[in-house]
């Protein structure tokens, strides 16, 4: 079991998810966030916070998004921890509308 960030987070990075993570397991690059599966405690606190429904429990992950399991693990291992809320990336609001949220 783990919890996965998927591509809806791309060019968006509303970091509402980070503020409720009890264990600081989000990592970030210029594009999006990733969850470190070794640190995440699967509490699901982040899932309802995401305004673009980018986060899934692995059991709920749509089939076409399964590759994100590996991407989260690999990326999180090398990237810095996101400790606090960051500014959304430019164009985030537009992308949110584009995704239909």
């Amino acid at each position: 079991m783990t919890t996965i960030v998927t591509d809806n987070c791309k060019s968006c990075r509303f970091t509402d998810c980070v503020t409720v993570c009890p264990v600081e397991c989000f990592h970030f690059d210029d594009d999006m966030l990733y969850i470190d599966p070794d640190v995440c405690i699967d509490c699901s606190a982040c899932i309802p916070e995401c305004p673009v429904e980018a986060i899934f429990e692995v059991d709920d992950l749509p089939e076409d998004k399964e590759k994100w399991i590996e991407i989260n693990a690999e990326k999180a291992a090398d990237l810095p921890v996101c400790e606090d809320k960051m500014d959304p990336l430019p164009g985030a609001e537009e992308r949110k509308t584009e995704l239909g949220f």
Binding site: M1, V20, V23, D42, A45, C46, P48, E53, E57, D60
Partner: protein, 458 residues
């Protein structure tokens, strides 16, 4: 401007309570750019609040949150004074005299009342008591739960009710390698329970469980889940609720319930029934609970604001065991304002307030600030917000008088013969619990009496 919050003049902060909200407040203070000394007071000799004594023993991964708290506690600016009850061993006034600011993070330790006749008849318990008991909380160590009844009823449909139902439904094999308290495991091993009814006052579209917690009811070793498919039918307003985009989390919950309702029945020896639109009217029995009278409800009001209204039609269920799991409730702290109706400390952005006036130097966070909802991580955002208010007030917190901090408090405790427990001493208890668990293949075997914990420290 005063130099408060600098190396020469550190801000002295007391935090009351060592649960998630207390530790996240601590983290936020330590991350800020001011120099701060933190003294955390905890009424038990052991820290971590409901992460230790609320979170279910069969959810060990969630308890890993305590690793984060142990890391916070390593700061040389942090001090734990456990086994100290604020309001009893130390007064609020004594804390404000010795600190620039006090943050109350003392949680919600009692429970809401149903307000029906027979509520307190023997055999009727609160989920709070049962949860504390199986998790080895010293307050509930000597509670007796008689599991001879073949039927158990749980009132309420939140995640605590799910925890209680699951612990009753699981086999000893499913629990024996968790950190469940030994006395509880022994009692559960003798359980006669065959039917567990989890009863909600509203409908299947309004339950407060989360999908993951419901999914666990798909695959219990000894227990099958039973939901009457007729009971899954929705009134038009509930159907509208589930269509609403803002309510998509609730739709997932309903889908998970529907999945449970569609499961083939097997012949496992225990059944867990989820049933809706019923409120207990009366608990009956001579000297001990024998039956519960329920009234059927219907929903009234607009979508997303529906409440349960009795139809007058009643139903009786024979049972000797009932748990009220309808929410926790805060306890008033002597000399602080208290909102009796909501059971919390009134505040404005985390500043404790009375008649809309903030009381200087007094702050609140976590369940005692918001009320008893939200999971571990919810308290992190909440404590960050409270600490932000405190930092905005920084200059007003220096009243010109010297604040003795830990020295002052420890002196007082010594003159009162209060045996306070430091974080290093807790680590000793922690290690001993882990060692005791090892031969049984348990992550730990908790100490459940305060004197056992203190004896260990000598």
């Amino acid at each position: 401007m005063s130099n408060i919050g600098t190396e020469e003049h550190p801000l002295q902060v007391a935090i009351v309570g060592s649960g998630p909200s207390g530790f996240y407040a601590c983290e936020a203070l330590l991350k800020s750019d001011i120099c701060v000394n933190i003294n955390m007071l905890e009424r038990l000799p052991v820290p971590y609040g409901l992460v230790r004594s609320g979170v279910a023993p069969d959810h060990p991964k969630l308890k890993q949150a305590i690793k984060v708290y142990a890391r916070i506690a390593e700061s040389p600016r942090f001090k734990l004074l456990a086994n100290v009850k604020v309001g009893l061993d130390l007064s609020v006034a004594e804390l404000t005299e010795s600190h620039h600011a006090v943050i109350f993070a003392n949680g919600a330790e009692t429970d809401r009342k149903l307000g029906v006749p027979g509520e307190d008849i023997p055999g009727s318990h609160t989920a709070t008591e049962f949860v504390g008991w199986y998790n080895g909380h010293p307050d509930y160590r000597d509670k007796v739960f008689d599991l001879k009844s073949e039927t158990a009823v749980i009132i309420g449909q939140g995640n605590v009710a799910a925890d209680v139902a699951r612990i009753l439904a699981k086999s000893v094999d499913e629990l024996k390698h968790t950190d469940i308290a030994e006395h509880a495991l022994d009692t559960l091993a003798e359980s006669n329970i065959k039917d567990i009814y989890v009863v909600g006052r509203r409908g299947p579209a309004q339950v407060k469980f989360t999908p993951k917690e419901l999914r666990e009811f798909e695959s219990l070793e000894l227990c099958q889940t039973i939901i009457d498919s007729e009971e899954m039918l929705l009134n038009p307003e509930s159907a509208m609720e589930l269509e609403d985009k803002s309510n998509s989390a609730q739709r997932k919950i309903y889908e998970q319930l529907s999945k449970l309702a569609a499961l083939e029945h097997s012949n496992k020896p225990r059944n867990c029934h989820f049933t809706f639109l019923k409120s207990p009217k009366e608990l009956l029995g001579s000297g001990h609970l024998e039956k519960v009278v329920f009234e059927h409800n219907q929903l009234s009001g607009d979508a997303l604001q529906q409440s349960a209204r009795g139809t007058g039609e009643t139903l009786e269920l024979e049972t000797g065991l009932l748990f009220r799991s309808i929410g926790y409730r805060g306890i008033a702290m002597p000399s602080l304002p208290f909102d009796e109706q909501r059971g919390l400390i009134p505040n404005m952005d985390g500043r404790i307030s009375e008649n809309q006036q903030a009381l200087p130097g007094l702050y609140v966070t976590g369940w005692i600030k918001r009320g008893p909802t939200g999971i571990i991580g919810t308290n992190r955002a909440d404590s960050v917000a409270t600490v932000q208010s405190l930092l905005e007030d920084l200059q007003t917190l220096d009243t010109g008088t010297e604040k003795s901090g830990a020295d002052g408090v420890c002196n007082l405790l010594q003159t009162r013969n209060v045996r306070y427990v430091s974080f290093e001493e807790w680590e000793k208890i922690d290690q001993s619990e882990i060692d005791r668990g090892q031969p049984k293949n348990k992550p730990r075997e908790k100490y459940t009496y305060i004197n056992e914990m203190l004896d260990l420290l000598g």
